[in-house]
Symmetry: C2
Subunit: 443 residues, 2 copies
């Protein structure tokens, strides 16, 4: 699946790289400011000046202090196609409109730096192909966890290793909410309200709390880590909106923190040797002694297990204008160097082309919180359901209530499809009043 | 200081990259094994096969199971110069001999991957120049903290940011010893003996325990982070052999862990605006709530503060055959891609060329542990010494002993030269029986 690389000649040392900036929100404004303030440093690091020659905005008449009016345009497409533009920086957001602009740029032989996780997670294949056909670069470090260099690590640093598993806290909003619930005992609703008040959650928090944002990042990490095209829609995704204060408390008592993890796994069937990949996002019980458990507030962290490197963890601010601008500007230096000196970024390489595992086949341990009748024989009946499905139990904890008891069961590793069958069966037992929650163990 | 980049044409997609492996110790053997076992993955990731065509060893008659005898040679220089060698991987160690071989390779137009921190810390300038003159690459990710991608992060990911400070636990042996002292109360001697027994310390532990190994890494990190040539001999270096169980206990009581940190700082004089850089290695009191404080056993972690990215931390195994091989192989993929496709690695770029700060000018807070006479007026006399030097105190803690008292003083930020003067003065006071230890605060 490696394609014919075209020869690319650099503009030459000292030449100027013409940059088009698409979007001037928080990130775009920071990119503009930092590039201006540190222009001499950028010139040295690139081998020639990088000059922003146009900024595409929705409303070009809006006042933007410190930005010359003649740089602003509302015609992004014409800007991208201008002869004096070598590099396009896309920080608009959304999918369809930036996709069109990025493809236009790549097809016109301009390298692209994007911070757009949704775009990359949905259309990495056609973007990579367009970059390859034009022998230009597509960089997207900022698409995953801002300045935490996850993309660079997977694409370059670990390029000589075999990655087995990636598990990351890649959404700051949900980590803030879960951390607040854990440290204050707040309900999900109250913690979300506090996150909104403090600006950690958007007015419509759906993309964050339902795990969609994390799923885009999981798709990107799995694609890079396993050299296999994994798209947003391939990621099994569950958010945190069903997590209750009771779940958090039960987890704490059992020695766990609940984190929304993006998990990417390279699976090898023990019997057949068949390989597959899996990417998923769901609330996960992380043992309190695991490094990911102590990642609090809105911080992000990515934990990687590789054959030779062993365990690595990367930690930092995973969002925000400045950290995202740092990642965009790091990519801008890389792409600009290649424009000056020739050469190409490490390509999108999906050679392994592994099949996606059926989610029902994925194995995890489960923490099941039930309300059961408080009488003899209940535990036996429940244990039988697990035994009938060949799933063994790690721990069983029963707390007596008034008329009912709370029963918490942690299983050994079991397949998702088996667990589904078990939960259905448990629900049919007269003595099981409710299955309050089923949360996976991980990390 | 950017130099003329030469045009470099790739060998072309599908061509084989001929590799010479210099050294076949733990790392070399792992590089050989992993490259062989995953050869198909490497071919895809590079764009053509990477083939080890010769291995330079000290004794070519020694049995090396699984290695064809015809690959072995004891004439490293001839191997490096062979026409069928494109890339040289140096994992010998030492300085003078590998320096000669690496320079020979670079001057002959071969790219080099090295894991040799001592070599890079001593001779980065001439190696970078040789690489530049031949338009080939010099990669050295494995020289700092093995598979933790510190070099890639500083060279590439943060290339668009301004790094302010790097503080890292970059030596596993000393971290193992300090962690053992902290968790068991053992003396330095006993903890070192245990580290030696378990293979964490070498028979001659000098390079580790005196901080020389960490100082090489500090030099490399400061050079990359501040775009300024910092050599091993520029690094102020103090080891851990003087740390006592008493120091560890006093630190714990005050809420600190003692860690051997490599600290690289970009300093800006508040009055003149003059910039300078400083790199140093010394035992450091790290607040227990700081992420570096919980890095235990032989793990490494590097904490970076940058203008836009904010705080980042990278954590993992910083040593060992496998993690080091992972870093070497990541570099091998990068260097080989450039051999196939053309293009160059991000160069060694020392354009900023900042002066080194005089160590006496460097400011830190100090934790001073004294044995003093147990009588009135002592505290006043001691306080006066600090006041006379314009240094204010953060905390003072006195514990009465039998005839003497232990006095622990933590200062606010003060210059090294001022602290030196204070310690001299304190030693001259009749009532100060001994200055037991002076340890800097940091991280």
């Amino acid at each position: 699946m490696t394609s014919q690389a075209q020869v690319r000649t650099g503009k030459g040392e000292g030449e100027t790289v013409g940059v088009a900036l698409l979007g001037f929100g928080t990130v775009g404004a920071e990119v503009y400011r930092l590039l201006g303030e540190n222009s001499e440093a950028f010139t040295h690091r690139i081998g020639g000046p990088a000059e922003i020659r146009g900024i595409a905005v929705h409303n070009k008449n809006k006042q933007r202090p410190g930005v010359p009016a003649e740089l602003l345009t509302d015609d992004a497409k014409s800007l991208v196609l201008r002869d004096d533009i070598d590099l396009v920086v896309e920080v608009i957001g959304g999918i369809d409109y930036p996709r069109e602009l990025v493809l236009t740029a790549l097809n016109a032989g301009k390298s692209v730096v994007t911070a757009n996780k949704a775009l990359v997670a949905a259309h990495a294949d056609e973007l990579a192909e367009a970059a390859e056909n034009s022998a230009v670069d597509l960089y997207f470090e900022a698409a995953v966890a801002a300045a935490i260099p996850v993309v660079g690590m997977l694409r370059r640093s670990l390029a000589g290793d075999q990655i087995q598993r990636i598990s990351g806290i890649v959404n700051g909003t949900t980590n803030f909410i879960l951390d607040a619930m854990e440290s204050t005992g707040a309900s999900y609703e109250d913690a979300l309200a506090e996150a909104t008040r403090l600006g950690y959650a958007e007015a419509d928090p759906t993309a964050d709390v339902e795990g969609h944002d994390a799923a885009s990042k999981a798709a990107i990490m799995a694609s890079l880590g396993f050299h296999t095209r994994v798209k947003f829609e391939d990621v099994h995704c569950e958010g945190i909106s069903t997590i209750t204060a009771d779940d958090i408390e039960a987890a704490q008592e059992a020695g766990y923190s609940i984190k929304l993890l993006a998990i990417c796994e390279h699976l090898v069937n023990e019997e057949t040797g068949e390989e597959s990949v899996n990417a998923r996002v769901h609330p996960t019980l992380v043992p309190q002694e695991h490094p990911l458990a102590s990642v609090n507030k809105s911080f992000n962290a990515i934990f990687v297990e590789a054959e030779a490197a062993g365990e690595l963890m990367f930690y930092g601010n995973g969002a925000g204008g400045n950290p995202t601008a740092s990642a965009v500007l790091g990519d801008l230096v890389g792409a600009s160097r290649n424009i000056i000196h020739g050469g190409r970024a490490p390509g999108e390489n999906a050679y392994a082309n592994l099949p996606l595992a059926d989610f029902g086949d994925v194995r995890t341990c489960f923490h099941i919180n039930m309300e059961v009748a408080d009488r003899t024989g209940v535990l036996a009946a429940i244990s039988n359901v697990f035994a009938d499905h060949d799933v063994s139990l790690r721990t069983v904890r029963q707390e007596d209530g008034e008329s009912t008891a709370r029963l918490i069961v942690v299983t050994h590793s079991a397949q998702e499809r088996v667990l589904d069958a078990i939960v259905t069966k448990l629900g049919e037992l007269d003595d099981v009043k409710a299955v309050n929650s089923v949360i996976r163990l991980g990390a």
